[in-house]
């Protein structure tokens, strides 16, 4: 008999739900089998923490006296430009935004010490930030300049709204060239000097629900230390990626767009990121509970690092030139061992995603559910699955005649 989410929620409210992390579930299924694991476990919690560039926050700062219309004007938060192309006092700040005077990669590799992600970290931690705005002035919004301290507790809304998070699997980056390269997957030493990967592997949300059976639009999640929701499929969502027999994608596949109240979040799970030679970003913590509705969900959540394969991609040539070539596939178990073999070479591995913090998130979410503070949700709508035919398209370039 399959379970329903309502039944699981009743158990949670009664303090009787059995909640385990995805790592614990792997162990239970290995020891007792999937059928028994299904009978015993109601909810599996997942977690991931890593740089997720397509993240940002929007604010409504409230109206000044006299009023100002930031829309169409400019706005800086701690010197970082925020997007103002919306209504009077709504602004959006992206994690990758840089101050105008940042030297970027003028002296390569640039440091990118302070960007949008760092402002978000400071803002969520309750620090005052400086807002500096200019506007063109209208009859109804006459004010043209504004410079003020701004604090998260004083704004109407502060919302984290991320376009693409929690990638279902990702590339392992290496460098075949003769010089060091500086990528969003870190510094890659020449001639296969190291291999960097970025996934929580067997703990990662979408790798535990590979066909998006339970994670969908409207799913309540752990986001940045607070509560958020899945808003939509993330950009570049690619359910048609190749999959193993147990439906685990072997390339970067599904993604999530997520949203949540920034006022309830914590800088422990939202951290400014500086990728040397690449840019600024935001380290984001996401955790998603998976209801064990039936034996198939028990099977999916029993996935272990050795079941998940990632492609090894050369970031000196294949990636920047958008060539499909890969150097092979490697499991997360191998990646986590500290070295992988590529040809006859042993290559040290580095992780961009923090497993210790992913574990912390999965355990924290487990605790919230066990205490009855966090209930599960039925998706309002399914995310596009492999049957949707949706793929990750390259840019269709059509040169414009001069």
């Amino acid at each position: 008999m399959p379970r329903t989410i309502q039944e699981i929620n009743e158990k949670i409210k009664a303090g009787k739900a059995v909640v385990v992390t995805a790592e614990e579930m792997t162990g239970i299924a290995k020891k007792k089998g999937v059928e028994k694991a299904y009978q015993e476990v109601d909810v599996v919690t997942t977690g991931t923490f890593g740089p997720m560039c397509s993240s940002g926050m929007y604010l409504n700062i409230g109206h000044t006296k006299p009023k100002i219309k930031l829309g169409g004007g400019t706005c800086l938060l701690n010197g970082i430009p925020a997007y103002t192309g919306i209504a009077a006092v709504d602004i959006y700040l992206g994690a990758g935004q840089l101050p105008a005077d940042d030297p970027r990669n003028k002296i390569h590799p640039g440091e990118f010490r302070y960007g949008g992600g760092h402002v978000i970290e400071e803002f969520v931690s309750g620090k005052d930030i400086v807002l500096e705005a200019s506007a063109y002035g209208t009859d109804c919004y006459p004010r043209k300049e504004l410079k003020s301290w701004l604090n998260i507790k004083d704004v109407n809304e502060a919302v984290l709204f991320n376009l693409r998070n929690a990638y279902q699997n990702y590339n392992v980056a290496v460098n075949l060239s003769d010089k060091a390269i500086y990528t969003y997957l870190g510094i890659l030493k020449p001639r296969l000097g190291n291999a960097n990967y970025c996934s929580a592997g067997g703990l990662s949300p979408l790798l535990n629900d590979p066909l998006y059976r339970t994670i969908g639009i409207g799913t309540r999640i752990f986001l940045g230390g607070g509560v958020g929701f899945v808003a939509w499929q993330g950009t570049q969502h690619n359910p048609s990626a190749p999959r193993t027999e147990r439906e685990v994608p072997t390339r970067s596949a599904g993604t999530l767009s997520v949203i949540g109240d920034l006022k309830g979040m914590s800088p422990r799970y939202l951290r400014g990121v500086s990728m040397c030679g690449y840019g600024a970003s935001l380290g984001v913590g996401v955790g998603i509970p998976i209801p064990i509705l039936d034996e198939e969900m028990a099977f999916f959540t029993s996935v272990s690092d050795e079941d998940i394969l990632a492609p090894i991609v050369d970031y000196s040539e294949a990636y920047p030139q958008a060539k499909p070539d890969i150097l092979g596939e490697v499991s997360y178990r191998e990646l986590r061992s500290g070295t992988i073999s590529i040809g006859d070479k042993t290559v040290a591995t580095g992780s961009i995603s923090s497993l210790s913090r992913a574990r912390e998130i999965a355990l924290l979410l487990k605790e919230w559910i066990e205490k009855g503070e966090f209930l599960l949700t039925e998706p309002v709508e399914r995310l596009p699955g492999k049957e949707s035919g949706i793929t990750f398209k390259a840019f269709h370039e059509r040169p414009v005649e001069q």
């Binding site: 890593g50 510094i187 190291n194 960097n196 990121v273 500086s274 580095g350 995603s353 923090s354």
Partner: protein
């Protein structure tokens, strides 16, 4: 045999003299230069690993001090801001001396300052600016 990693701060009037060469000959030492920079107005900076007899290394350092070279222990100069580190482990694969190692039990990054050679690769590589090298 002992090994010491030291940071030497040279006053500007000494930068044209073969001090290291003299020192290693006099005290029968082996040395490995980890980092060197010379900026004439301020003097020079040299990060060295010295190997030799315990007495010889000690006397060599005293000799350098007499020449008005300021000496610091290297390990003191490299720090990790523990509150900034998220223990991702991206530093582990580029650390050349196994000073940064992932602990396979709790998946946290252990920093062994005594193994650090102050190459500063981790400082560049850390996305969270957790590694600080003060020289």
């Amino acid at each position: 045999m002992i090994s010491r990693r030291v940071v030497l701060h040279f006053p500007s009037e000494l930068i044209d003299q073969p001090i290291i060469s003299n020192t290693v000959k006099r005290y029968n030492l082996e040395f490995n230069i980890l980092k060197a920079s010379i900026a004439p107005p301020e003097g020079g900076l040299l990060v060295l690993e010295l190997q030799g007899g315990k007495k010889d290394v000690g006397e060599a350092l005293d000799y350098l001090k007499e020449l008005n070279i300021r000496i610091e222990n290297l390990s003191r100069d490299i720090t990790r801001r523990d509150d900034a580190c998220v223990h991702c482990g991206v530093c582990v694969a580029i650390c050349p001396s196994d000073a940064l190692v992932l602990n396979a039990t709790n998946w946290e990054v252990d920093f062994f300052a005594d193994k650090c050679v102050a190459c500063e690769l981790c400082v560049k590589a850390c996305p969270y600016a957790a590694m600080e090298v003060r020289l």
